[in-house]
């Protein structure tokens, strides 16, 4: 991919800023020629991207296009993978996420994550949500209870579990578990929420609840969601980035990208010609 195209994409990204009247375009995470390697394999290639604050940004693309890899880089979950290293800059709050002065645990507190499969701890509902706040030094039971209730309410789970806070979270249904994981992520009050195909393991009903929730989170959190499901991207996101083979093909306001894609490949992908 040539440099021109990337420039063009960045310009495209600027368009919704001017057009959207609701929120000011203010980049929260900025990728500057950001690449991720697995050994010698370049999974994400010189990405240039500005992710707007307090908006929902969807990252779409066929399997293996590097969208999950990129998402996991934002809270450095790819540290767990041996032989994984990066090039370029990924800037959050003025600092390079992979810079030497970054405290990874502090970063992850501010950049929460919800995973593909619901992964509650095998502990009680309460303990699951209180886990994060506890780690960050909140000990008082009353304060914890407050946080747990608020987080569960935000995750629209409070009414369903308020009577069984002490029961094992593994006893909840899949959809409930995923909302619990969302509550757990919210409980530490992050600024960014990363969602890695959060509904791929859920049935349509649970999926739609999660999607509703994502809509409610807009305005308070910067949500970045990776999804295979283009309808979902169209439904929940304000902005969409289309990645293909590690490269950013197009980025723009969701409505625009889905109705009048600028790139041929985007059009092919969203109309289901490949992917």
């Amino acid at each position: 991919m040539s440099n021109d195209t990337i420039q063009f994409n960045i310009q495209a990204a600027a368009i919704p800023h001017r057009e959207s009247s609701a929120v000011d375009f203010e980049p929260h995470v900025t990728a500057e020629d950001f690449s991720i390697f697995y050994g010698s394999n370049e999974a994400v290639k010189s990405l240039r991207l500005e992710i707007p604050a307090r908006q929902v940004t969807a990252i779409i693309g066929p399997s293996g296009c590097g969208k999950s890899t990129f998402l996991r880089a934002i809270n450095r979950m790819n540290d767990l993978i041996p032989n994984c290293y990066v090039k370029g800059k990924l800037i959050f709050d003025g600092y390079d996420i992979f810079g030497p002065q970054i405290d990874v645990t502090a970063l992850r507190r501010r950049v929460g994550m919800v995973f593909q499969k619901p992964n509650p701890f095998p502990k009680s509902v309460f303990e699951n949500v209180a886990y994060g706040p506890r780690i960050h030094g909140i000990r008082r039971r009353g304060r914890l209870m407050e946080i747990v209730e608020r987080s569960l309410r935000k995750a629209a789970l409070w009414d369903e579990v308020k009577d069984r806070l002490s029961q094992n979270a593994l006893g909840l249904s899949g959809g409930q578990q995923q909302r619990l994981c969302l509550a757990r992520a919210i409980a530490v009050d992050p600024e960014i929420l990363l969602m890695d195909e959060p509904t791929s393991a859920l049935d349509p009903q649970a999926t739609s609840r999660i999607e509703d929730l994502i809509g409610e989170l807009r305005g308070n959190y910067t949500v970045i969601i990776v999804t295979h499901n283009m309808q979902q991207a169209a439904r929940v996101s304000d902005f969409t980035a289309f990645l293909y083979e590690g490269m950013l093909i197009e980025f723009g306001a969701t409505r625009k990208l889905f109705t009048t894609p600028k790139q041929k490949r985007t059009e092919d992908y969203i109309t289901g010609r490949f992917g």
């Binding site: 767990l80 502990k123 992520a185």
Partner: protein, 491 residues
């Protein structure tokens, strides 16, 4: 392969599987059943009045009034025996006096015969010879009786205990008669029968054992009635009663396990097992966490892992020798054998098992747990402590419990480092510098080096049963734990 053959092969395979399982179960029963049966003999047996007396006098248990009544009845029944024993030495003396007189007379006659007429001599001499021969026969019989009487005296003492009123010996087994009915029966046979090895005329043939009633030796004497009396009145003299002696587990022993229970051994085993866990569990778990979560794969780790696996294959006697040389000789952790050193040695023995179990358990924790913890800002150490270890705990516990069974049953490592054959139960302060008896070692010791191996069979089997029960219970606990955890994981 067509469907028919496949079916046959299938069936043959399941048949083989079932057969092997059945064989295994049968083998287990064949091994365990006699052990259980005989081991039960230490707990359930017919206790005699001596047993109840011992329990009362040494452990302060039982009903004194009833005991007194029983004892009185028993003594009444035994009086005949004691009387006979008392009378017999006097009888011997009298007979010896009589023999001496007869001998004098015979000598006189011999002299008279020598002085007498030559013509009469041969007949008189022959008559005298006959008489002398007969005399010698009687005399020799008395000597045999005299010698055997000592044996009888000893056997009666072992059977009934010292007669009332006699000064008591310092050790318990000289103070009491047989406490168990099976012991009584054995002693009665020893008392009433004489076993003799006879060499056949043909030296090619093996020697054979002849058992004759002892009463025959004493025919015509005051002691002749004793043997039948003992045989017929044994029950009256001992008043056997079925006893459930569960305190076998909690009583201390005396007279090298002649009496009492096996509490010192059990306690020693508990100390050694828990002690080894105190060292092995933290070391093992930390090592496993390091190997799985921290170590970077490389030659160093490979070598380390090979070492742990090799350690698991080292013969246990080598661990024992190492423990003795390293902990006692080199480090001087204690002056000699001690629970501490034994525990350390056993810890080394089970360390590889624990490391492996913990490693596997930690590896089996879903990666998603770790990711979840990290994603809310937990550090690595925090993730290990709050998420990974709790999730791995069931597996780690299973490993710990199984290695506890191993540590409890090991003999070789404690021979040089911790075990003594006789000892009192230790308190916690003594474990650092005192050796202890322990089940595995004492089973060996009681079966081989005890001065009366045959008379304490019930203790040997009781110990074996207890040890097997401990190990089986630990393994059962591990199985139950594993089942419960896997059920939990599935839900």
């Amino acid at each position: 392969m067509n469907l028919g053959t496949r079916k046959v092969v299938d069936r043959a395979f399941s048949g083989l599987g079932v057969t092997s399982i059945v064989l295994l179960a049968a083998a287990l029963v064949v091994i365990l059943a006699p052990m259980v049966l005989r081991g039960t003999g230490a707990f359930v047996f017919r206790g005699t009045v001596e047993f109840r007396r011992l329990e009362f006098e040494k452990f302060g248990r039982g009903n004194p009034d009833r005991l007194k009544a029983e004892q009185a009845a028993a003594i009444r029944a035994r009086k005949t025996v004691y009387d006979m024993l008392k009378v017999f030495p006097r009888e011997i003396e009298q007979r010896e006096d009589a023999f001496r007189a007869e001998k004098r007379e015979l000598r006189k006659k011999r002299r008279a015969a020598r002085d007498a007429d030559v013509a009469e001599q041969p007949e008189r001499k022959a008559a005298l010879d006959r008489r002398e021969k007969e005399f010698d026969g009687r005399r020799e019989r008395l000597d045999r009786q005299k010698a055997d009487f000592e044996e009888v005296h000893k056997l009666v003492g072992e059977l009934l205990g010292p007669p009332p009123g006699e000064e008591l010996h310092a050790v318990w087994d000289k103070q009491y008669g047989q406490t168990r009915w099976d012991g009584v029966e054995k002693k009665v046979v020893l008392l009433t029968k004489i076993d003799q090895w006879v060499q056949p005329d043909d030296p090619q043939q093996p020697n054979y054992l002849v058992r004759t009633p002892r009463a025959k030796l004493y025919e015509g004497t005051a002691l002749a009635g004793l043997f039948d009396y003992v045989e017929d009145h044994a029950e009256e003299m001992f008043l056997p009663k079925w006893t459930f002696y569960w305190r076998f587990l909690t009583d201390t022993s005396d007279s090298a396990h002649y009496f009492g229970g096996i509490w010192p051994e059990i306690l020693g085993t508990i100390y050694l097992t828990l002690g080894s866990m105190v060292f092995a569990v933290p070391m093992g778990v930390i090592a496993a966490v390091y190997l799985v979560e921290y170590a970077k794969e490389g030659p160093t780790i490979r070598v380390l892992r090979t070492f742990t696996n090799t350690l698991a294959g080292v013969p246990s006697i080598v661990f024992g020798l190492f423990g003795a040389v390293f902990f006692i000789r080199t480090l001087h952790l204690s002056e000699g054998k001690s629970v501490l050193v034994g525990s350390l040695t056993l810890a080394l023995l089970v360390l590889p098992m624990i490391i492996r179990a913990a490693e596997e358990a930690i590896r089996a924790v879903p990666r998603t747990y770790k990711e979840a913890a990290l994603s809310v800002g937990a550090g690595k150490w925090r993730t290990v402590v709050t998420v990974i270890l709790p999730a791995a705990l069931p597996g780690i516990l299973t490993g710990i419990v199984i290695s506890m069974g191993r540590a409890a049953g090991e003999t070789a490592p404690i021979i040089f480092t911790a075990a003594v054959s006789v000892g009192q139960p230790l308190n916690l302060g003594q474990v650092f510098n005192h050796p202890t008896p322990a089940l595995p070692w004492n089973i060996y010791n009681l079966c081989t080096e005890h001065r009366a191996v045959d008379e304490i069979r019930h203790v040997q089997y009781g110990m074996v049963l207890t040890l097997v029960a401990i190990v089986l219970l630990l393994n059962l606990a591990a199985i139950v734990m594993r089942a419960r955890i896997s059920r939990k994981m599935r839900s």
